[in-house]
Amino acid sequence: MTTSPSIVPNFGSESSDRKLAIICSKGNLDMAYPGLILANAALGEGVDTMIFFTFWGFDMITKSRMNDLQFSPAGNTAMHLPGSDMHIPQSVMPAPGMTAIATKMLKKQIADLDVPEVPDFLDQIVAAGGHLWACRMSADMNKLTMNELRDDVEGIISASDFIEMTEGAQLLFI
């Protein structure tokens, strides 16, 4: 057996300037997660990450709503019975209680993977160095101020402010 020369993983240079900007525009439970998972992954790779919450995405950072995001299977033709390829007919989706049942099921599936709930997940993202910003127009439309938002939201800013501060960043709209 011959010995190879030393191999050390490349963890990138300390001065990497890669930046990622994620715009979260949805307030459904299922659509809250993609942005959070990608933000968390980017931070774990040493990428400077900022998230801009706009329109329905505002619910993710609004204190009175962030614990109560919901998932509705209505209009989602990719919704199958768990563990099977069978569709649930769209006609039954608007039935009373369906959203509550679907939300409960999705929350359980997420928790089973040890993935945190949305507020906890944002705590983790901020702890990892992520930055949270809120959209000015959405705040004005919803009559919300910084008082109603998570304490770690860094500010309510205009779309142009966000574009300016994310110069050179890769951008995801979700």
Binding site: S6, P9, F11, G12, G46, D114, V115, A127
Partner: protein, 104 residues
């Protein structure tokens, strides 16, 4: 898979340099691995590395940052301070374990 010399021992690693045999790891090797990626080991670092080693034994996979916080009790923020930029991968590397597979 390459075999390289670390701390005077012949060690199996993958193409990136992560150890591939759990029992070939020891603390001397960990110190060398840490030095190679410019991490200076303190008791706080060792606490995490030991948690990862123990957790791998029972779980069969490397704990993610999330798990190091929820089960190991070390906040994510602290992990980033101790192993800057890429804590999960750096911790796994020094602990002689594969990169974590989980997304979160």
């Amino acid at each position: 898979m390459p075999v390289i010399e670390i701390a005077g021992k012949q060690i199996n690693v993958n193409d990136e340099g992560f150890l591939t045999v759990y029992d070939e790891w020891d603390e001397e090797i960990a110190k060398t691995l840490a030095t190679q990626i410019e991490v200076e080991m303190t008791p706080a670092h060792w606490e995490i590395i030991k948690f990862l080693r123990e957790d791998f034994k029972t779980q069969g996979e490397t704990a993610t940052s999330r798990r190091v916080q929820t089960v190991g009790g070390v906040p994510v923020k602290t992990q980033f301070e101790l192993f800057p930029k890429k804590p999960a991968k750096k911790m796994a590397y020094i602990a002689g374990l594969p990169k974590p597979k989980g997304c979160v």
